[in-house]
Symmetry: none
Subunit: 218 residues, 4 copies
Amino acid sequence: MDALLTQSGTRPRADARRNVDRLVTATRQAINEQGLAITTRDIAQRAGVGLGTLYRRIPSLDALLAAILTDTIDEMTDRAQRALDAPDAWQGFVEFAEAYVQLRASSCGLHEALSGHGGRLDLELHITRLQQAVHQLVQRAQHTHVIRDDLDWCDIPFVLATAIPADHTIGLEPRSDQWRRSLRIILDGLRPATESSRSPVVAGGLPQKSVSAEHSGR
Amino acid sequence: MDALLTQSGTRPRADARRNVDRLVTATRQAINEQGLAITTRDIAQRAGVGLGTLYRRIPSLDALLAAILTDTIDEMTDRAQRALDAPDAWQGFVEFAEAYVQLRASSCGLHEALSGHGGRLDLELHITRLQQAVHQLVQRAQHTHVIRDDLDWCDIPFVLATAIPADHTIGLEPRSDQWRRSLRIILDGLRPATESSRSPVVAGGLPQKSVSAEHSGR
Amino acid sequence: MDALLTQSGTRPRADARRNVDRLVTATRQAINEQGLAITTRDIAQRAGVGLGTLYRRIPSLDALLAAILTDTIDEMTDRAQRALDAPDAWQGFVEFAEAYVQLRASSCGLHEALSGHGGRLDLELHITRLQQAVHQLVQRAQHTHVIRDDLDWCDIPFVLATAIPADHTIGLEPRSDQWRRSLRIILDGLRPATESSRSPVVAGGLPQKSVSAEHSGR
Amino acid sequence: MDALLTQSGTRPRADARRNVDRLVTATRQAINEQGLAITTRDIAQRAGVGLGTLYRRIPSLDALLAAILTDTIDEMTDRAQRALDAPDAWQGFVEFAEAYVQLRASSCGLHEALSGHGGRLDLELHITRLQQAVHQLVQRAQHTHVIRDDLDWCDIPFVLATAIPADHTIGLEPRSDQWRRSLRIILDGLRPATESSRSPVVAGGLPQKSVSAEHSGR
DNA sequence: TATGAATGAGTTTTCATTCAT
DNA sequence: TATGAATGAAAACTCATTCAT
């Protein structure tokens, strides 16, 4: 995120940093309310700064959006890498899956961007790193037979995306833990046939390990 | 869709009809590539007509988008209603689920619109009708115990919603039948524990009943 | 008006003439309802013909408008010239004044055009002829001392224009004979002091000589 | 007119105010030359600013036009109200008539708008207030018998309305004081028969009380 | 330095005019 | 021949970005 600080000078970046923070927060808020179709004016107003200040801190709107989305992607990658250290392969996978879904769910801009329509934003590098981490994680789970082996590893990120509450689907208001309910179903569908013991879909059905406050839908 | 033809009385001239078709096709294409943020100029160019022609056939860009999305929604509703007639509740539900996911997959603009960021388009009425049909269908499946009963009926459309290959998820190219692979997993996750016999996730794993050509993503 | 008939061929102009008539009538109607801001589509629809037919008969919209306005101007000129033959100079002047005001009042398009904002229409030649006729008429009236001689002849057309009911002035609905009421006042103001016998401003206060049906506000 | 300045709180920056002034002036000029059918591009060019600047200062073209016209109407109303305070009823009326005619003359856009073809602009409220003031003024003049009593009060605004030099009437170039010459005649026509002493129609024939510079046709 | 004023390319939409059917 | 379909230039308006204050 520091990449956003345009100038590389020597001096007291105190308020500069504060402004960047405000801008990022305001942008996240705006994206969650209106998707990627936001205006610089809107962002500046929410952040309580002028347009000039915005552009002093940020090279362009797209750069700001990309930085924010990149940040989330990197967090996902981080989660995947940490999950590789979990002693239990399934448990590790579940932890990642939760984080992955929640992060996407709490940043509908990301979902929009990854859905292909934010194509102008260059996220390539970061996405590749995420891919690799997920690949390893799924492989481990399949090698230890905790995920059914008739799946390609690529199927996993696709089916996990399914858990993201597409805001109103068919006009229905999603519960705040809708993603958790969907994930439960999907995880059940991922287990090998022999393992398939259903745990009821209720709040608390999954470990409540929460994602870092940084991304929880501000 | 014929509602788009502005004039009413006489049979439209051959070239007029051809142009409407081209415009609708071009718009579908454009939406699938770029989402709802498309321009009239882009549509007209893809359709190979002038801007004036576009506006001769269509009252406004929003009206065109709404017509296309409404059309898909209505097709979904139709599928849900027909599925209620299937003798087997699970089989009926699967048929609908397939159609629902495939239709969403072939019209990612719909996904965007339903995701709330297409709010300017008025789809209310059509969505309500879809809701009712889905509600009935899921209820029947739960009453006959072919879908696990720890789920709320609302969970179903949510978990199915993004089985569309959210274009590149984490930068991966989706297979053409990616939606079918995700659906397989989800359906497995929806069965009651006792029923859970896994059928392998491969092409052809589900009955290949295809959606009417009208919507197959042209 | 015949100038409008585009082709100069040899054959049965019967329906051609009919179409021109319809178009002219439709245009007059439209102008009176909406001013000069009318569309070809509107005219064609009112006339019950297609756009192609309109353009077969008429070189351009401006040409049509000019023809119609020209026609009215020529009628004014004609009235002025006939008024010169009236035995009584004042009576002749009054007759012209009436026709002049009524013609302008019944063709608000004309008023709009002459008010300078229809400048794209070339009415020069016809207006010059009208000028000359009015000049003579006023001169005769002043030479015989029936119009006060502290006026320039040019003042007359200007002050007569005053009688045209500027539709709603200050939001008031004009009476159908509003122009006649105004004209009465103006004519009173034009007489030499010695002649100034007031005749009450009521309907019928002036001779009801009506303008040829051709122009009576269709 | 200040209502046009979009922002409210702080004092507008010098250049902002300068641009608003330029825009208003440019618009007045444009209206006087071409009527209400002016374009934003034209206004912006005359004012020497970009289109964006125009829209930063003004919510819409119609709002700008309405503001300008409203301003003139209110000035008229003000004049009528002040005229009620004149000790002599006729003198008061003449003062108003002058202002009324001159204001209309200096804003022919107003003429157009009031003529009904500017219907999209909402001037209702302001016009009503003008009506009331004029009504009172004329009533007072008639009750004291300085205006002939065979007239309806409504006749007065009508007969005064187009004393504006309807630009070229019949192609004649109006003198700069043409409106004054017409007004002289009309006022003579308004007096009761017994009062009718003609004062010659020459420049200076009426008190030269000029309208505030704000409206003198810049 | 921080602000918000200015800019103009780009977007939706209209309409006079031409041309295929 | 009559129709109305097609066209694109032009209009109102928005918004990312630059620059004067």
